[in-house]
């Protein structure tokens, strides 16, 4: 394997790992969205915020380690943040009712 093949392989691995972690957070968001009307758990927000923080630290590390472009890192975090914002808006709407 050449060094550029290795670098490509490592970059793909990094993105795969980050996507797995993003999917876990995505799943947490979905579960909370589904349970909006029935069994809302206030700890969910705390857990999601903590998970998001940990995830953003992972992405930041991957960028600094040269495994991921800064823009790609920002995109993967922003996507989750947008979904989280939708959830929080729905929670706020629910609280108003």
């Amino acid at each position: 394997m050449t060094s550029s093949e290795l670098q490509e392989q490592l970059n793909i691995l990094a993105v795969t790992l980050l996507q797995e972690d993003a999917d876990k957070i995505q799943k947490l968001i979905e579960v909370q969205m589904e349970n909006l009307a029935t069994r809302y758990c206030p700890l969910y927000e705390e857990v999601l915020d903590t998970q998001m923080y940990g995830f953003s630290r992972e992405v930041d590390f991957a960028v600094r380690a040269g495994l991921l472009h800064e823009l790609a890192g920002r995109e993967i975090v922003s996507k989750l943040e947008r979904e989280l914002a939708v959830l929080y808006e729905a929670l706020n709407e629910k609280a108003k009712q």
Copy 2:
């Protein structure tokens, strides 16, 4: 550069980045230890716990990405945890006084 040279370089970079982050937390712990008697800020514990969580996620990612041996990762986290435990014990002693 051969692929094994690249891998070695990436591993060294990963350890350097993680050590930088560990040093920042270490510095936070030292500052709090120094200020134990004078101006204790309760938010420090919260900040340190959050930083430790983020750091452990970075280390975990580096291990999964094959940049760091699992044992080395555990060692770098444990070292900080031990220092944090010393700080918390000192804070507890202080609270008893």
